[in-house]
Symmetry: C3
Subunit: 634 residues, 3 copies
Amino acid sequence: MKLGCCYYPEHWPEAIWAEDARRMAAMGLRLVRIGEFAWSRIEPEGGARYEWGWLDRAIETLHAAGLQVILGTPTATPPKWLVDHMPDMVAIDEQGRPRGFGSRRHYCFSHEGYRAECRRIVTALAERYGAHPAVVMWQTDNEYGCHDTVLSFSDAAAASFRGWLAARYGTVDALNAAWGNIFWSMEYRSFAEVDPPHLTVTEANPAHWLDYRRFASDQVASFNREQVDILRRLSPGVDITHNFMGFFTEFDHHDVGRDIDVATWDSYPLGFLEQFWFSREEKAAYLRQGHPDIAAFHHDLYRGCSNGRWGVMEQQPGPVNWARYNPAPLPGMVMLWTLEAAAHGAELTSYFRWRQAPFAQEQMHAGLLRPDSTEAEAAPEVRKAAEVLAAIGPQQTAQAPVALVFSYAPAWVIGIQPQGQSFRYLELVFTWYSALRARGLDVDIVSPEADLSGYRMVVVPSLPILPEGFADKLGALTCPVLVGPRSGSKTDSFCMPEGLAPGSLRDVIPLTVTRVESLRDGISEPAEGFAVTRWREDVASDLAPEWADAEGRGVVYAHANIRYCAVWPDAKLLGLLVERMAAEADVPLTHLPEGIRIRRTRTHVFTFNYSAAPVFVPHLGLTLGPASWHLDPL
Amino acid sequence: MKLGCCYYPEHWPEAIWAEDARRMAAMGLRLVRIGEFAWSRIEPEGGARYEWGWLDRAIETLHAAGLQVILGTPTATPPKWLVDHMPDMVAIDEQGRPRGFGSRRHYCFSHEGYRAECRRIVTALAERYGAHPAVVMWQTDNEYGCHDTVLSFSDAAAASFRGWLAARYGTVDALNAAWGNIFWSMEYRSFAEVDPPHLTVTEANPAHWLDYRRFASDQVASFNREQVDILRRLSPGVDITHNFMGFFTEFDHHDVGRDIDVATWDSYPLGFLEQFWFSREEKAAYLRQGHPDIAAFHHDLYRGCSNGRWGVMEQQPGPVNWARYNPAPLPGMVMLWTLEAAAHGAELTSYFRWRQAPFAQEQMHAGLLRPDSTEAEAAPEVRKAAEVLAAIGPQQTAQAPVALVFSYAPAWVIGIQPQGQSFRYLELVFTWYSALRARGLDVDIVSPEADLSGYRMVVVPSLPILPEGFADKLGALTCPVLVGPRSGSKTDSFCMPEGLAPGSLRDVIPLTVTRVESLRDGISEPAEGFAVTRWREDVASDLAPEWADAEGRGVVYAHANIRYCAVWPDAKLLGLLVERMAAEADVPLTHLPEGIRIRRTRTHVFTFNYSAAPVFVPHLGLTLGPASWHLDPL
Amino acid sequence: MKLGCCYYPEHWPEAIWAEDARRMAAMGLRLVRIGEFAWSRIEPEGGARYEWGWLDRAIETLHAAGLQVILGTPTATPPKWLVDHMPDMVAIDEQGRPRGFGSRRHYCFSHEGYRAECRRIVTALAERYGAHPAVVMWQTDNEYGCHDTVLSFSDAAAASFRGWLAARYGTVDALNAAWGNIFWSMEYRSFAEVDPPHLTVTEANPAHWLDYRRFASDQVASFNREQVDILRRLSPGVDITHNFMGFFTEFDHHDVGRDIDVATWDSYPLGFLEQFWFSREEKAAYLRQGHPDIAAFHHDLYRGCSNGRWGVMEQQPGPVNWARYNPAPLPGMVMLWTLEAAAHGAELTSYFRWRQAPFAQEQMHAGLLRPDSTEAEAAPEVRKAAEVLAAIGPQQTAQAPVALVFSYAPAWVIGIQPQGQSFRYLELVFTWYSALRARGLDVDIVSPEADLSGYRMVVVPSLPILPEGFADKLGALTCPVLVGPRSGSKTDSFCMPEGLAPGSLRDVIPLTVTRVESLRDGISEPAEGFAVTRWREDVASDLAPEWADAEGRGVVYAHANIRYCAVWPDAKLLGLLVERMAAEADVPLTHLPEGIRIRRTRTHVFTFNYSAAPVFVPHLGLTLGPASWHLDPL
């Protein structure tokens, strides 16, 4: 795994570039990402009058120091002159307000004029640097969707949506039928009558929302593809990446992942711990380390996103600036996070950023250097990590024993129609992941389209809309398979399937979900060894339940190697299920103390202590200090 | 009491209509409500080209099965073609945004063009079906005000408001004087200068808001009246209803109730429990039953709304889709709710809906049938309820011993000027109702205009604006009367009365409220046997207080048969007051265990167990199972 | 100290004015503020057709009763005719919506047309009454900024902002450099391209926001200055005031304070207790008294705002109408508040309002009289206060032993970039104030520009942007000085300083803040005798820490007489710091029981009991009843 950093030569005096490059190399870095926000310096005035000089010199300077460049296209930050030239290029938010200039990502993915400008600037960049020996990777744009920017409700978006619908449905009658628009006299006479689904009096038709989300996701993918196509043509053989985000499901990353070579993501474990659903206790226990599965979850997710090639484009090196509270990592955590990435097979880990900027929006975001160019706390950890990585050599991943099936559409479906407000799809997948990993299992997070053969356990936490053939694919497996609540509960048009949920899964496990309940926070219905919370389904089946609650209502059903879990599984039920499936699959588990995780490559076993205290690790027979790690040959 | 269901033939293949009708009849249903959202099928294109065929056949099919039809006017769901024809017909929300097409109720009550379209479609419907032998009732529109739709801030509304003000005040000087517009130089020189009271820098004049709420309520009533007038003319002798909602006070239902024949309401006890002010403990204890007074409260409220004729148009038969959490009713609850309605004298209970729709917004809302046409959990309970109802025969209500005086304007007055944010008028009335009913009392909820003679106890929880003659009416009573805080505290123009609160009530109880306090949540000031929370008034009077707090501040004052309660009464003070008044009135109380309620008709006593556990009921000498009932002759 | 009241003759029949005036005088009042909302009566139609008659008579009536008049300019309430004449004069809120007519303060400070109207009406008022013997003081406008009205995002504001920027930066390149606009390609090519910083996709550049806040603050000051200039010219020798608010930092009050003669403020301790950051326990303990430091804090703040001349223009006399909950003051509190003002050197205390209005927005706001003209609870306390004040004579303040350095810009800087959401600048200053005062210290709250010599202790709770020369000023002091976290952490352009925080303070204490952390609520890291919460900084220094946490991380550093506190100080650390500094300064402390406060003038020591219970006061050797006071000669 190569190490790198994110660098903004345009932020600093040219006089210090060479020294920066020298220090980067000396620290063990090999990659430098640049350029992704620099449009106003590349083209200060519009009119295709480019200022290449500074960028030429920046790349040369890095190259001269033996560094390789990841060059970003600057399309996340259209300059003011461009916005003023086509004011309707800005996105419109769900409240109907234009999103103003003055930060970033103010563009609408559907605006053809802006797309043309993007093609132009990407073409110009690729023509100039596509064959430059320093440029080893392109990054398209930056963090698609950041700051809630996937959805736009502009006229451009509405017009594109109508075209998208026409292509999908052919006739408006087909659309009306698919969505069930008769329901409240919502029938359209032409595609031209269809608007985006926002600002309706009460919820819009969920099918309307789902198609709007699909359309918006497709717009992201096609926006990206336009850049990829140009880069492929003008910079053949150079890898293309995009830097995805954490806990983010607003567009289908599998779609974008298919078009690029390397899926990268931006890893900020402390900010994510603070901003997401973790309990007060978890937020306290892992304050300066992040929950032990946050980074690993995304590593395994993005490895499954782009044909196995992946990396970390932005790695938190200290406090960030954007969470409600921003603590500093414990000493050792930056190195630990780096090794965790290697343990999951990353090609690169790039720290964000080389030097903390003393100005503008992210001035409180730490870097490897402080604004005064002294080394920040992470720098020696990076230097040490580079040494360790060099010592152990490249790490290759094997297929994991467990496949965890994850998809983006379920997040949209359940977000559009939660039915119980505590049913959060991403949390459900994450808690499954955490239950598996806490028992020492390596996990591949894969899309429903993935080849599932070769796995020894398969978990589908929830999959409301079953892709064509998915039930058959599960049926063909011989390993233990678990399918969770709401699976098969919707058709492709956001309707309930004929014969009810779980739809075509009934072909592989004979049961019907006759009714669902959601339970408010604090309601906990006892069962043997666990409790039912948040969600439960009534199941009609000739099968006797494998687990039931205290009143005998079925909770888990099994049929041959297929299980159906009819509730939101609490941590205890997750444990029971993982243990039984592992026993059936003859997959050994490792009982790990709280905060300890392990991960295997083809050659090594990594053990990590995410606790803030020393922990005795039975399988190692030794005690690991806080935020520390241990490495064994496999 | 007839049973019925809500049915949408336009949602289903015509081929299954006859079988549906047969099954409805076999289940014991006699009434079927149809048509209220079907405008786009009745008139798919505009231009008064009506498609009557399907509706003719649907009505004939139901009729042929022996079912009677309640036919809804479709004005809650104007189709897209109509909105596009007059885009300014949509309501404008309080933030100034047009309310978009794509769900329902997007119209502004004040738009004359839309009103003309409504008159046209209602006329066409009434001309076609006004004399049809199957049609036994009309329903106007659907749930006026649902989704916060009473208030609109459109140009049409503003113009109508100006006319309304001119009619009310005659001159703008009279308006300025009535509202006290001198206060912040808010004086107008003409009615044309007056805007709706939204988006002001800080709160607008409360008199401005009160008149806007009165105006908006009047617009609902006149909108309804236009339909009633047409239906009376074209369908003489056929009852007219409107289906009101629960815990909803945005317009004056007494006004609308006067114009129709039968007040119906839509009863969703589990959703209401979740969405309203009930405590965490109540929400847990009554999770799958609803608080024991939710349905009864509305039954008694709507019975008083339309000359005693009332019913349930939509009865929850399973989980709903619109609350934050949506549990399923306990087995037995659907039957229990049905009998509770009968016990309060309902003419009809109609379940919403016959078959769960597998598409669009309400696909997670249970029906009597599942989407696959199998019977849902409620179906056998309905069948049983039909048998029981047949066995006991029609139930007539007698005047209850207690009148609870309720009105809509207090909800507006207190909502506009809460003064303490925990003073919720509807909750105050409900807690009074619950205190009475928990002691075995039957209650009539009546408007201040009602004849109060004949009652043995009268409770007025709060009545800030006293209708003309109301104090005299109370003064003429000889039974125990209790008047609660804030009564008589405002004039008709939202000013403080001369001589201070309680205004003209001082004629019947000699005291003056000199000052009011509101107390934050958690503040509880002890008194003998109860505590003062939320609200307390300083009272100047020669009367010695009947109850005082630990420091001797008066809490309740009595003068002859009239009492004034100067605080928000907690549950214990409510109990003390009910018990003393009942003793004075010689009205016997029944001490009921928690969760048990009774209700008498002219012929029967119904006992209901709303608990989730079996409860021994002393006055019956037997134990009732969870969600079960017991019936005795009176 | 003179007593007074706020009076609105235009609200009442002229027939009662004389009796009102007589009763005011008899109650011991000498000052009457009038006129500040009366534009629509002074000029009912526009066109400079003034109606002076009623105001002439009102002033004469008060004068005849021996009362002095504070005359307000009516510019906070432009009438409807004026708004309709220039609709773009209204402010635009941060969401982009025009702020509607119907309450007050709907104007934009930047609208030149409205400013001209204000100059016209102020000129007319000053020409008529500038030399009137009754008029002893002018009040400009009313509560600048109330209801979130400092910021406006109108076209007028945007245009003025551009001019302000051009004046500040000279060239747009200088602006781009100062703000660091290269960061996300936010560079401008001309000032004309710069918009207000609202509605951006994510946070705008903090430098952009800071300049917008500075600009907006300057607009308030220049708006005020226009009125002051007219009044100085046409009413020479008559004092000018403006009534500021409590816990309000949206504009720089020191700037406005420099232009007026007497800083007054509006004191509503019970409302402020409810609405601000006080804990649940404090809100319960001080429910009807207000936290013991609320009034005193503002007295000391505003005394420092306008050259030592200050007063209370609106004193709460009973329940207010605008907090979530509105309790009544304990008996005695109105008198106690009055004496607290005297103890801090107020020139006047004016009660808001003479008579409670029975109409419009503030009808639930108590007065000295009830709406029926009977005396409210406060009246006898006012009468008594007048007697006591007459008995003790004028109270002069001496320089306090402690200077607490407070400024407005830190509230903007930290509000724009909190980094940890619990770091609230005003709360930090208040808790310092409270820690000092709870130990019996008198405090001067002064601006960073103040002369600090002569103080025996100086506390700078936080000062992110150090004014030119401030570090040198501190360095020149010989008394104990404490500087708190974040001080010196920003340049004037909202960047991090070269050499890092604390910037130029490193000249007086040799340390560098290398990193900062914010800690979520509930995180409490132990140290000896206190705990670290909310915020902590990593400090690099050759100094050994004076206090450290349990792990040895430095918390407080001292160098000669200068201390740096690197954390958010909890109450215990505040106590340790105050006690050590006082010992060093040889300033005696008085250990006061909870709820007891003292304050010295040149001649007297006032002791106040803010508790709701009697408290034994050791230094007095006696027990003070609840809400009571004690007075000794110094």
